[in-house]
């Protein structure tokens, strides 16, 4: 049932989702208001993230093979999903971990929300591009590639701008912390790899210990 509280919630979601389009064209103003004026919602952020992942997946299916031939036998959609979610997660963690130590005003959730809002240009451009891909020949591939690259550059550049607004950083400081966050991401990946290889070796040790014990006892 659509109670009035629910309708209000939906309206708030819709309004905050529409605000993402405003952010896409007015980044500085938009991302300031996103947290400081509380115009963004987690619901909208999650929805934009969902749209992005969804776009990535339908791109696989519907983009013309002229642009992107796909070896379906060796395709794992979970890897494609992770290719967005995993960098996002470690970016948010690395950025929050660093900026919180250096006067960054953004909270963990706000960093996540702003980053998700920045992803809107990706579905915005890529979905029309799926249609375009099916009418271009291999000689006209460049049109597609340029637009496709544009969507990525747009997203990345907007993330940098958004972080500056969220943390109330100056341009120089923002730039420095962007680089530092990227470095932080590398460190996190390194530690994760180390951790997993250690754990797997540790587990293997105890398994072989157990096997040995069972072998002796039987």
């Amino acid at each position: 049932m659509l109670t009035s509280a629910r309708i209000e919630k939906l309206q708030r979601f819709w309004k905050s989702f529409k605000f993402a389009f405003y952010c896409a064209t007015h980044p500085l103003d938009g991302y300031w208001d996103l947290t400081h004026e509380r115009r963004g919602t987690y619901a909208a952020a999650n929805f934009i993230l969902f749209l992005t992942v969804f776009t990535k997946l339908i791109k696989l299916q519907f983009t013309s093979f002229v642009i992107e031939p796909i070896d379906w036998e060796n395709t794992n959609i979970f890897l494609h999903i992770a290719s967005i979610l995993f960098p996002l997660a470690i970016w948010v963690v690395a950025n929050w971990g660093l900026t919180t130590l250096f006067d960054g005003k953004g909270k963990f959730g706000q960093i996540y929300m702003a980053t998700c809002y920045c992803m809107l240009p990706y579905p915005m451009i890529q979905i029309p591009l799926i249609f375009l891909s099916n009418v271009v020949t291999s000689e006209e591939k460049e049109f597609y590639s340029v637009l496709s690259a544009l969507s990525l550059v747009w997203v990345l550049f907007w993330i940098i701008l958004a972080m500056g607004q969220i943390h109330e950083f100056s341009v120089g400081k923002n730039f420095f912390f962007t680089i530092a966050s990227l470095f932080g991401m590398l460190v996190i990946v390194f530690i994760l790899l180390l951790f997993f290889s250690m754990i797997s070796q540790g587990v293997a040790y105890f398994i072989s210990l157990g096997k040995e014990a069972m072998f002796r006892m039987s």
């Binding site: 093979f65 002229v66 031939p69 009418v135 020949t137 291999s138 000689e139």
Partner: protein, 504 residues
Amino acid sequence: MTKKHVKNFIKGLSAFVASACILVGSSMTALAEGSYTYCYDYWGEVQDSPNAYDVVGVYTFKDLGLDLQLNNPAGLTANGDMIFVCDTGNNRILQFKRTAIDKLELVRSIEEFKGDVEVNTFKNPKDFMIDEEGYYYICDTDNNRVLKLDSDLNYIMSFNKPVDATLDADQVFQPTKLVVDGAGRVYCIATGINKGLIKYEADGQFSGFVGATPVVFDFMDYVWKRLASQEQRDKLLNFVPTEYDNLYRDHDGFIYAVCASHLEEDLKSESAQAVRKLNLKGDDILIRNGDFPIYGDLYMGSGGGHDGPSQITDVTVFDNDVYVCLDKNRGRLFAYDNQGRLLYVFGGNGNEDGYFRTPVAIDHIGYDLFVLDTLDKSITIFTPNTYGKMIFDAIDQFDAGEYTKSGETWQKVMDLNGNYDLAYIGVGRSLLRQERYKEAMKYFELKYNDDNYSKALKQYRKEWVEDHILVIFILVFAVLIIPMIIGRLGKIKHEIDTADIFKY
């Protein structure tokens, strides 16, 4: 039976069942190992294929009516219905006549020739060739000469070591392979001479080197060489062109030159070519439109005692420009079409008929292939079967402009081998020529052929726009003009609403 006996019986039975399972299992894996003939798909995966060629027979010295086993035979040449084999180790050239599809009859054994020269016999002759006027040309390798004889074995002339300032005076001239062009010019390759093909004019005059392979080196080698001292530099490998291993002159007069000794990384980076087609200037004009470079097997890992890239040691070109390369390493034959697309691969190392130990030379009569195996001392004859002929038919029909027929033939090929990319592309190309663009696009898309797909799409797109021009016009009108009209109407309404006249 006691309880123990029963137990033993059950044990024995289970052991039997288990071993039976293993046997069945292993025979099943043997089945899954891959077929004699195969091809690669778009992704480079090996796709099993029906056999395109059947073995007619394997002929050793007894079958050929010889008194002596072949000894290190190095060359095989087909001309008309005659087959010439250079029985190198026995210093003779054998001439056979193919009297029936499976019959080679010895015509003569050429061991000496008449004429006013010092040495009237051969010493390790490695190649033989007949020109268009019927003269014989022989690479008399260890007598350091190329002989020209007439068909009655009278000495005409010989081509000797080229007189050239760039050649070392001490170098022994050992010609190994040769071709002769329509004007009687001789192109030959010789051991240790890497400047390209040695070219002689018809009068025996040396006239230069043509078609050397481009030198391959990488940047780091270059840097090292600049830093090294003179002594160190002498010890480093020289950047020199690679020697060719064999030659073939096709029906159009182009020379196919192959090289077996390229390194894996050079082949993969395409800085070196295993097969080159040389024009008169010595430039490589081989068409390479296939999905993969022309170097035989894509997978160069070790297996069955062989590793490294395919060593293309000979090539033969059919009249429809399909060429078959012979791999000495794994004993395989690779057939490519005139666009450089792999048609099929067959053969292998082994002792069965249709397998080789060290194949060295290949030639053809019609579409039948003759392969000389130097270690097995035998000649293998292959003939295309229904499937193989169908592929040739489809190619020939397309080249002759019979597009509809070619499409039908490719369709038949596809019925026999549904994993064959070229069949789909063939059907697609035929449909494209018949202006059935939409259907053609479907076939190209199935096999990821983006070039042809784009050609079809371009035409289809044009047709579609021409058919739907009215709808498109109306849509554009609707999107652009109607909002403008609505806006104008709104403005008028607004003006009327706020007009002074209606104010009281």
